[in-house]
Amino acid sequence: MAKHKRSAAKEQSKLQEDAESGLRVDDGGTGGVGEASGGSIVSVENLSFSYGSGLVLDDVTFSISRDDFVGLIGPNGSGKSTLVKLLMGLNKPDSGRISLFGKDIGSFNDWGKIAYVPQKASQVDPLFPITVREVVEMGLLSKKRFPKILISEDKFKVDKALKIVGMEGFSGRRIGELSGGQQQRVFIARAVVSSPQLLVLDEPTVGVDQATQVKFYELLGNLNRAGIAIILISHDIGMITRFVTKVAVLSGKLVFYGTHKQFCSSDQVLGVLAKHHHLLDLGCNYEKHKR
């Protein structure tokens, strides 16, 4: 498995190189607006949102840069899914501003740069007749213009993406037959197949055993080092804090946003979180052991 991952990282950087050398012509429009604003690819200012009654998100402000791996944590119902749905343009903010790659979300149309794995993706209709390969192909086809046709190069991209997540032996299997963890890896493959620059995952490991989760987060770490910014939502704080570069704690308001180190030394934040977590495993002790 370890061998897989190393080669997976290599595969991914190859994917990135391909993208950089050939496909990536436009870089946010005016010669890299992203770079100009300190490499920020997501920027949220004073964002508020409600589904009708009661604010779900209250005056949230933060920004994410190209090399970030952000762990977005918070108790159930704290607005994590709502926040990423706003970032994906699935909901409209009540007030505040969202910019993606330097463009206001209202005029942003380069969705090919972003890949999203929603929370319910882990609840696949078990009878849906679709193979692993077909699911990954969706990631390519959805970014194409009409007529949407797969060319021979796409076949290699799909193979590569399946290899990255260690699912190359499953391409002809019906996705409903696979375990939750395997399905989730297929969704990651669908997300990375189009060489996105930002990968957004909403609780991707619900119902997956712990050993598999660790492997999965390591895989995300590799993708991040290969140049993909990642937003990972989880309610399992202890599991993810050791893999991410930044931690965001949401509870209606954005309670904390900073590096992992700042997170572990912020007694105030730890105090807030302790109320919601019986076992105060915030991934900070683990870090001490490691050092």
Partner: protein
């Protein structure tokens, strides 16, 4: 047996029946997977109301039904969106209103009961060349549009949120799917009858889903089952003087039972 192909009425019946079977069975896969199986039935009721209105006003009933069904289809989507009502309840509201309207019109206008029956049950072995051309063109256009939007329709059916986040216009595709279903139902009306058209949406798709592993195969098997049942059904109906639409529906049900048994057997 093959000599029946020499009759022009049989050629017309086969051609129209097969094209409509393909349109219905392809749409059916998307609709059944989206838990929208009964939309065909609902739109059949709606078309019935549209036909009655058309006959009442003395304007081309089929065109009238087409517009009426397409508008009602959009109304169903809007009700589902705005009124916090599940998909099948929205279908129920609109289709029963239209069915009620149809029956009401028949009762006050009298005199076209016989026409109405031919729309309900179809008269595939006695259709005119114009009806053949209309049905084939409409159903052919439906099949072409499904082919063009195949990938996006599949993505939305499988995972609507991801599809939207990829920049796919799910709202447009949902409207397209339901309007195409309305067009198919109406194009099938005079030929196979409203009842047969809606059964060709549900049964071949449900049968195919018993065994298909991939989406391409699901569409292929669904169309194959529908075609075989139409061709065999027409032959049997002609030979034994059965009602064509009833025979085709029953054959479809037999296919479903066989595939269901095959699947139960394979699972063990």
């Amino acid at each position: 047996m093959l000599e029946i192909l020499g009759y022009s009425f049989m050629q017309k019946a086969l051609l129209t029946g097969v094209v409509i079977a393909i349109a219905c069975s392809l749409l059916g896969v998307f609709l059944v997977l989206r838990r929208y199986s009964l939309i065909g039935d609902g739109l059949a009721h709606i078309s019935f109301g549209g036909i009655a209105l058309g006959l009442l006003f003395g304007v081309a009933p089929v065109l009238f039904a087409l517009a009426f069904a397409a508008l009602s289809a959009i109304a169903i989507l809007k009700i589902k969106e705005k009124a916090r009502i599940q998909g099948d309840t929205a279908i129920g509201i609109v289709s029963h209103a239209a069915l009620g309207l149809g029956i009401f019109i028949i009762s006050i206008a009298r005199g076209f009961n016989v026409d109405m029956l031919s729309y309900l049950f179809g008269s595939i072995l006695a259709i005119s060349t114009l009806e053949v051309i209309t049905s084939v063109l409409l159903a052919g256009a439906v099949v072409a549009l499904i082919m063009i939007f195949y990938h996006d329709l599949t993505f939305v059916a499988f995972d609507e949120d991801s599809a939207k986040a990829s920049g796919i216009d799910a709202g447009f595709l949902n409207t397209l799917l339901i309007v195409l279903t309305a067009v198919t139902i109406v194009s099938a009306m005079k030929v196979t009858g409203l009842l047969l058209a809606s059964s060709l949406i549900v049964l071949p798709a449900a049968s195919s889903l018993q065994v298909a592993k991939s989406f391409r195969k699901a569409l292929f098997f669904s169309a194959l089952i529908a075609i075989v049942s139409v061709v065999a059904g027409l032959a049997l109906a002609y030979h034994f003087d059965f009602a064509a639409s009833g025979t085709i529906v029953l054959l479809n049900f037999v296919f479903f039972c066989i595939l269901f048994a095959v699947r139960s057997f394979l699972r063990r």
